[in-house]
Amino acid sequence: MSDESVKRRDVMKGVATVAAVAPVATAGCLGDDDTGVDGEPVEEIELIVTTADYDPVRYEFGQLIADNWRELGFDVDVNPTAWNTIVDTAMDQQDFDAFTLNWGGRAERIDPDIFCYDLHHSSQTELGARNQVNFENEEYDEAAEAQRRLYDDEERREQVYRCQEIFAEEQPRTPIANQEQIMPYLADAFDEVVTMMGEGLMSFWTAVDSEPAGGNSELRLGYPSEVNNLNPADGQATHDQQTMRLIYDRLMRINTDGVAEEWLAESVEEVDDTTIEVTIRDGQSWHDGEELTVEDVKFSFEYLGEHSPVLDAATDPVEDIEIVGDRTLRFDLDEPFAPFLAVSLGQVFIIPEHIWAEIPDGMDDVNSPLDFDNPEPVGSGPFQFVDWQRDEQMVLEANEDHFNTPNVETMIKVPGADMSTLVRLLEDEEINMIGWVPGPDTVNRLEEDVDHVENSSIEDHGWYHINYQLERPPFDDKDVRHALAHAIPKQDIVDVVMDGMGTVTHSQIAEVNEFWHNPDVMEFGDDIDRARDVLEEAGYQWDDDGRIHYPAE
């Protein structure tokens, strides 16, 4: 990072510190008064929430939580903040007391590795990494590392269970709820609509396997934002990936049960725990007619591993790739990596060497693969690219030569400025499906008043939660975290804020993710009396104004 950008950050941080320090200073003065308690008053807690328009759920439950924490005697300042600022200060700089967050459920996150290891292993605490709460626990680290090494699912599950137990006991973050993903579509347009945990109607399988009704051959899918670009080396946004995976194949696909199954790979064999042998399907071809070969596959992993920041983590475990047959290649791993099939083979796009070998060197004005806008993507996937008018529509056509030809002939992706325009389009039958969850009131209205619209519903394994900065008091005290967690009105949040469209959760692995979810962990929430007891037992005291103080030294 350059000097300039560091300076800019520092300036901003300085401002933030001044703002944060001021109330604390006042609080310190209060402590000197004769309040009848010995310990220092607990610092003010700044609770960062998203703005109401970015995510009403996080905004609203932040207010409810703050109300209850105040009832416990904490001084809570709720601070609605723009999303880019939250990313910069809270997630990047780890400069926060507490903030609300939602990890989206994506197909690759059904495998428990990301929620167990990336988010909570002590090696992931440096600035910018994903353990922003600075959770460090040796026992936990052991379990999180062990689950990565075990190829046997049952054995691995034991370790994943262990992770969830320790996580619940320690409460570095308090999971609150999993959203119910209710997405609307036109009832007349489809005989059967496929949906998937965590992705709802945006899933790969919805596009490929949904059965259109007689007279309809198109899937017109609305989504509240536009695809950024179709460069498989870039693909920063989930939406980009969700679109590109229709055009580009992967060796494995996560099926609707959340298990990685062979896709472009015909068979996958574990030779030993660091060697995986993959044989690809016979007779596959690119959309431009060229034959898809095992060299393309090797090239894809090497090229994207080198150039793609997003797929970097997926290709990281691979030390070497060796072609061992006409259709067979062998991946050598640094160390055993159990999520390899789901996270690596299930994520890396297979791209044509005859096109990408030229990029960037064979192009004018393109300095790196990331600069390439890939105007006419050529893949081997079930859909092929036809046309894209940005902010109007993107047209994809079924690939008749594919081993899994989609049931629809055409797919049109329609971006909307917001959900409200998309719902309008759906009701006017301009589009026939929406890949995002409308607000609860719209869902109810569509259910009750609009006959031609149907709602598909599935639980999300992503989780709404609240983060605590474990390096700052009072969050460094496990008892405080327990008390705060007990005070969170989880059921009320689901009932009122989400209008019942969700499930209370206590673990980082959702209940809907049946195989990996540990149903037997410590549970918190909806019990403010219990919260008070916990604090009392830990020696916390309340002054005459009801303000909470630390235990006497």
């Binding site: 328009d53 600022t85 209205r445 009932d495 209008d499």
Partner: protein, 312 residues
């Protein structure tokens, strides 16, 4: 008015400014009373403004419900999107909040933005117009080029960008709006001052040795004040609309209830299709407040030179 004249009194000197200014103030006041007496629209404007001002000042104490509170049924579930009733005069929002109370409290944001931004803008604009016209030469060149540049900035996009940069608070919204709104005041005040500069009373003041500052602020300024008031009225209108637009696009102050924000929430919640009670009150409130400013402005316009054109 009277306090202002006294303030000037104490600075009086032998050039007769005090008497002149007092006479001018009395005359101006009479003219204002006169024009408003004969103008129904102006009266309506003043009445509307008064109502909104009271709402803005006492809003939090006169609301029947806490505007941020989630109202609940007996069984604890939220009263979502209830149609108007005797308990909730304008019904409730999708989170069960009382629309009527929000409309009352929302007046404050619009009024604060409208008045403060207009005040800053007119102060800046009047000074720039006055100084550039009075001194002329390179001072005028520089100031007028700056005014040109301010005119080159597309209003709403600029406001959005700057509010995004400064952070979404009501104060950054005020500052940013004021940063652009002064430009029209500067131009008209300048042209008016140009015509006054050559008049005999300025000549005579100069002849008795009055300083530049004195001439500018004691002799010329009182004569362009009616114009400044007129532009203040228009600025209030533009500022209220700008704030509403900013909030509607989602860049508003998230800690403050404003009418634009209410409409934005209703719009994003897709409520414009069925919850008219959530949409109409804030929309009509914005319209009425801005109309009040325009009505008053129209009346004030009669005081000033009718040749002046005022459209932004």
């Amino acid at each position: 008015m009277s306090r202002e004249t006294q303030g000037i009194d104490s600075m009086a000197s032998d050039d007769g400014a005090t008497e002149r200014i007092r006479a001018l103030a009395v005359r101006t006041w009479r003219t204002f009373v006169d024009v408003f007496e004969g103008d129904r629209m102006g009266q309506i404007g003043l009445a509307l403004l008064l109502i909104f001002a009271l709402m803005g000042m006492f809003g939090p104490w006169i609301t029947p419900h806490d505007p941020t509170e989630i109202n609940r049924d007996d069984d604890g579930s939220a009263l979502r999107l209830e149609a108007p009733s005797t308990d909730h005069y304008f019904g409730t929002t999708n989170m069960g909040r009382d629309v009527f109370s929000q409309v009352i409290v929302g007046a404050r944001a619009s009024l604060i933005v409208g008045t403060i931004a207009a005040l800053i803008a007119v102060t800046i604009g009047t000074n720039i117009g006055l100084i550039s016209a009075y001194y002329g030469g390179w001072t005028e060149d520089v100031l007028m080029r700056i005014t040109d540049i301010a005119y080159a900035l597309p209003f709403l996009p600029f406001v959005i960008v700057l509010v995004f940069l400064l952070g979404p608070s009501i104060w950054s919204i005020i500052i940013v709006i004021a940063l652009l709104l002064w430009r029209s005041t500067a131009r008209v005040v300048r042209s008016q001052v140009l015509s006054h500069k050559e008049r005999p009373y300025v000549e005579s003041a100069r002849a008795v040795g009055a300083s530049d500052l004195r001439i500018m602020y004691l002799h010329i300024l009182p004569n362009v004040l009616p114009l400044a008031f007129l532009y203040a009225a228009f600025s209030v209108a533009w500022a209220v609309i700008a704030e509403a637009n900013v909030s509607f696009l989602g860049f508003g102050d998230p800690t403050m209830i404003s009418w634009g924000q209410m409409l934005f929430e209703a719009y994003t919640a897709d409520a414009i299709r069925f919850a008219w009670w959530w949409v109409v009150p804030p929309g009509v409130s914005i319209m009425l407040l801005v109309m009040a400013a325009f009505f008053i402005g129209r009346t004030l316009e009669r005081v000033t030179n009718p040749e002046l054109r005022h459209a932004e």
